[in-house]
């Protein structure tokens, strides 16, 4: 049996269903909350891709989310039109990730130290951005604003028409499109030999190295791609919140995305998305009351998941589903079912 879910194929039926739901959702509900849930889902997807498939755990993925948000805000204040800032909000985190990643992976840093270093990068950004109050910290026309952050920048506009800015429903559709496109990009990467090598590295790094693959280059590449995705999520988040504060780099933000991914499920793409949407929704609900502290719930969820279902909810459900399927087939006809099981397990040995 395969230990992890399969890699390459898309179930187009489910994909189209999800697209239809996202298209029609605004008919039944306000789009403000769904927008941010989709942004968080994209953020979780970018970490889930890296962690679940390439086995690279970044404790500080919030760094790239925050960099995307800040890059967009700074660039749009200076440029005025949102197309270039949108692209920059992916390129800048990607460039930073390429440098950090190359430093770590070519240095053969092990997973624990990778966690520490990525977390330190996030902390450095948090400290720096919190201390940028005052006139000394200005990039072009943009004041970084220290702990209070940067309010009052232009939100996304129709490319080429700075005066037509997007707000409300269009923003929601932009977020939905970004999530769906990034999902397809992830699937596309995983279906290619690049993705297969990543999974190979996760399973056995030494073997991949001996087969002649340049493991540090592969790791750096996927780290960079996922940072670009996180940057896009950060850019959309800046548009949604209409303010960027150093909180995007905070430890809480860094922890949250980890919890979404691990609770949703490692080694799947849909798991992190569903984890982010459901836990993100819980967080918003908890934010409306003051009886129970939000971090209490998040912490409890993380402990329970690590102790009880270390691979996450979605893979656990998939396992149950597969087991139920096998049982159903077993009941359908004893001889036939047994032969089919034999036949199915044979290719694994060849």
């Amino acid at each position: 049996m395969r230990a992890w879910p399969s890699v390459g194929h898309i179930r187009w039926g489910w994909f189209l269903l999800a697209t239809a739901i996202l298209l029609l959702l605004p008919l039944v509900t306000d789009t403000h909350t769904p927008s941010v849930l989709l942004i968080w889902a994209l953020f979780a997807l970018s970490l889930g891709m890296m962690w679940g498939y390439a086995g690279l755990l970044s404790f500080g993925h919030a760094a790239y989310f925050g960099l995307g948000a800040y890059t967009y805000a700074v660039a749009v204040i200076n440029i005025g039109e949102s197309t270039v800032p949108l692209i920059l909000s992916m390129l800048v985190p990607a460039a930073v990730a390429a440098v950090v990643g190359a430093m770590m992976f070519y240095g053969r840093i092990s997973d624990v130290y990778m966690g520490v270093i990525t977390l330190l990068v996030t902390l450095i950004l948090f400290k720096f951005m919190s201390a940028t109050a005052g006139d000394a910290y200005v990039i072009g026309g943009a004041r970084l604003g220290g702990f209070n952050g940067m309010p009052g920048f232009h939100t996304l506009n129709v490319p080429g028409y700075p005066e037509i800015s997007l707000f409300g429903l269009p923003t929601y559709y932009v977020c939905a499109a970004a999530l769906l496109i990034c999902y397809l990009v992830c699937r596309w990467i995983l279906a290619r030999s690049f993705g297969r090598v990543l999974v190979g590295i996760r399973e056995n790094e030494a073997r991949c190295e001996l087969m002649g693959y340049n493991v540090p280059a592969f790791k750096t590449a996927i780290f960079t791609v996922c940072a670009a995705m996180a940057g896009l999520a950060g850019c959309l988040f800046a548009n949604w919140a209409e303010i960027v504060t150093p909180r995007v780099f905070s430890l809480g933000q860094a922890a949250e995305v980890l919890i979404w991914v691990i609770a949703g499920g490692l080694g799947t793409l849909i798991g992190p998305i569903l984890g982010a949407i459901s836990l993100g929704y819980v967080k918003l609900l908890l934010g409306e009351q003051t009886l129970i502290d939000n971090s209490l719930i998040l912490g409890a969820v993380l402990i329970i998941v690590v102790l009880g279902i270390p691979r996450g909810v979605v893979p656990a459900l998939q396992g149950l589903w597969a087991a139920a399927g096998r049982r159903a087939r077993g009941r359908a006809g004893s001889g036939q079912g047994a032969r089919r099981t034999l036949g199915a397990s044979k290719p694994e040995h060849t």
Partner: protein, 288 residues
């Protein structure tokens, strides 16, 4: 001349601060290879314990030097029994679970004490160094740290418990070979580490004031001190505390405290890149 004295004292204080706040984490990491991300919250709990004791009229030194370590040590015992012991050998999972624990403790303390800052007065008044006003309590912290490090060294070097602890650093099978149950040893080790964190929190509470989220301020510094120090408990913690503390304060004096902290964090990244097993993994290999 006075200025040089001030800078020296501040550097010594920073080194003591780093060594004190990371001692508990270092013991747990050095002996059990467990990275406890709830360490900052243990420190924070120690602070809250001593403030609560002080407010109910208990002697301040008794509260911070005895009650805080005992209470947090007990919390550590419960945590080890209910969470950590299921995760030995799974380093990443342990980090995630203790991160969850850290959030949980922040939530609990917020529920109990509210999300407001609490503080208590320092029991030692300041003094005059030339034309500079210095905090006398900083000296007390330096003294406590020196005493603590000497005590830790003596325990590890000369006692039966220290022998077992050094065995545990080599590996669980060494503990078994010495005739002890590794699970028991790990349980007491984790509890002792938590108690040290509680002590640090108690002693530092008058200086810093406390919020439920204060743990975050300790964990980052303690974390990099321990990791750059490597697995050897005392020499590792001390050597990285000296390097990082000195750089932090020198850069702070030269420019700005925030730049100082950033310089320290950046230095930690460089050190880790050059010496992925920590300073002691590279230069000292004898254990303590």
């Amino acid at each position: 001349m006075d200025y040089a004295g001030v800078v020296t004292l501040e550097i010594l204080y920073m080194i003591a601060f780093l060594a004190l706040t990371s001692a508990g984490l270092a013991i747990v990491f050095g002996m059990m290879r467990v990275i406890n991300l709830a360490h900052g919250e243990f420190v924070m709990l120690g602070g809250y314990t001593s403030i609560a004791c002080y407010n109910s009229g208990i002697n301040i030194y008794f509260a911070m030097l005895l009650v805080a370590p005992v209470v947090v040590g007990l919390v550590g015992l419960i945590v080890e029994q209910s969470i950590i012991r299921f995760l030995y050998g799974r380093m990443i999972d342990t980090m995630l679970a203790t991160w969850g624990l850290s959030l949980l403790l922040i939530g609990l303390v917020t529920l109990i004490f509210g999300n407001t800052a609490v503080s208590m007065p320092a029991p030692i008044t300041g003094y005059q160094l030339g034309e500079y006003q210095m905090g006398g309590y900083n000296l007390f912290i330096i003294l406590v740290t020196v005493a603590l490090l000497i005590a830790m060294w003596a325990v590890l070097r000369f006692t039966r418990a220290g022998l077992i602890a050094r065995g545990a650093m080599q590996g669980a099978d060494v503990v078994s070979a010495l005739g002890y149950d590794p699970r028991k040893v790990y349980m007491y080790t984790f509890s002792a580490g938590a108690a040290l964190s509680g002590l640090a929190g108690g002693v530092l509470a008058p200086l810093t004031g406390l919020l439920p989220s204060s743990g975050g301020a300790y964990i980052a510094k303690a974390f990099i001190t321990v990791i750059t120090g490597g697995a050897a408990v005392i020499s590792g913690t001390l050597s990285s505390a000296v390097i990082l503390g000195t750089v932090n304060q020198l850069v702070s004096f030269a420019s700005h405290p925030v730049i100082g902290e950033i310089a320290m964090l950046a230095l930690a990244i460089i050190l880790l890149r050059l010496m992925p097993t920590g300073i002691t993994g590279r230069f000292f290999r004898d254990g303590t």
